[in-house]
């Protein structure tokens, strides 16, 4: 430690950055897919029930 704050810099760490972005993208895509699947299944049900 120096008077102006912590010294040094974290070197590397791109694997953590890539993991964070990939997991976020995967999570958003998975939720979108799940939502669209539920919407489609509801539409199929409505068509079966004879709704417009």
């Amino acid at each position: 430690m120096v008077e102006n704050g912590p010294a040094g810099v974290i070197v590397g760490g791109w694997n953590f950055v890539v993991a964070a972005y990939s997991i976020t993208a995967a999570g958003l895509i998975l939720y979108t897919w799940s939502l669209l699947r539920r919407i489609r299944s509801q539409r199929r049900l409505e068509r079966k029930e004879g709704k417009p």
């Binding site: 912590p6 810099v9 760490g13 964070a20 049900l45």
Partner: protein, 235 residues
């Protein structure tokens, strides 16, 4: 233009806008913005972590407002919005904790710490998972809506704690930054991703709320038929 394509764009413009903003914002955050002085490239997680946190809290705030609206008016639109916003908030809060864990491992050297910010964020996630679970156990649409609304209001008490805890108590997590404390080159990707996440959450909430309303209409029309089916053998 193909009518199906134009309809898809009109129906999902918020989703498309979210994708464009998130792709541009992430690209700038990953490859254009400068590395931070002490954390180096690891700090680039901030461009996705902070917008996720902001919008997750916004989703829970939307759920809270909808809960009050639901109790006040009894309208099913408020209840559908509450469920949709709580669900979107749970998804974003889960992603937030994973991103934070990765960032923590790279900078603090641990995947998890029972720090006040991390703990209150985990409690918030568990509370809203509880709200959604409780809903699935309740019977009757009015009872279900009231129970969900009351539970969401109680769960929302944790939101101000999550936001202010880093100022109120000693925390390993840093306090909120402001445009005055952030390098101007870092603000653009942060804002682009924040708006991207906002449009994504808005698209999730609108679609999920419509689905909830459609499901309710289906169950309301299906119920009398089921009752008739049960009554036929008796007659």
């Amino acid at each position: 233009m193909n009518p199906r394509l134009s309809r898809a764009i009109a129906d999902h413009w918020m989703g498309w806008l979210a994708i464009v903003l998130l792709v541009i914002g992430s690209w700038i955050g990953l490859f254009v913005a400068p590395a931070e002085r002490h954390m180096g490239d690891v700090q680039r997680i901030m461009y996705v972590h902070v917008p996720t946190a902001w919008i997750a809290l916004l989703c829970f705030t939307c759920a809270f407002v909808a809960a009050i609206g639901s109790l006040w008016t009894g309208r099913e639109r408020w209840d559908a919005t509450l469920v949709a916003a709580a669900e979107a908030g749970v998804v974003l809060n889960t992603l937030l904790l994973i991103q934070g864990s990765l960032w923590g491992r790279a900078t603090w050297g641990v995947w998890w710490d029972w720090d006040v910010r991390l703990t209150t964020s985990l409690i918030l996630l568990l509370l809203f998972v509880g709200v959604l679970s409780l809903r699935s156990f309740a019977a009757g649409s009015e009872r279900k809506a009231n129970l969900t609304a009351v539970a969401a209001i109680v769960a929302y008490v944790d939101v101000p704690l999550v936001y202010f805890c880093v100022r109120w108590w000693r925390s390993l997590h840093q306090i909120q930054s402001s445009p005055a404390t952030v390098d101007p080159a870092m603000i653009l990707p942060l804002r682009l991703n924040a708006f991207g996440m906002l449009f994504a959450a808005a698209w999730f909430i609108v679609r999920r709320a419509r689905l909830e309303l459609a499901r309710r209409r289906s169950s309301e029309t299906a119920l009398p038929e089921r009752v008739r089916m049960i009554e036929v053998p008796r007659g």
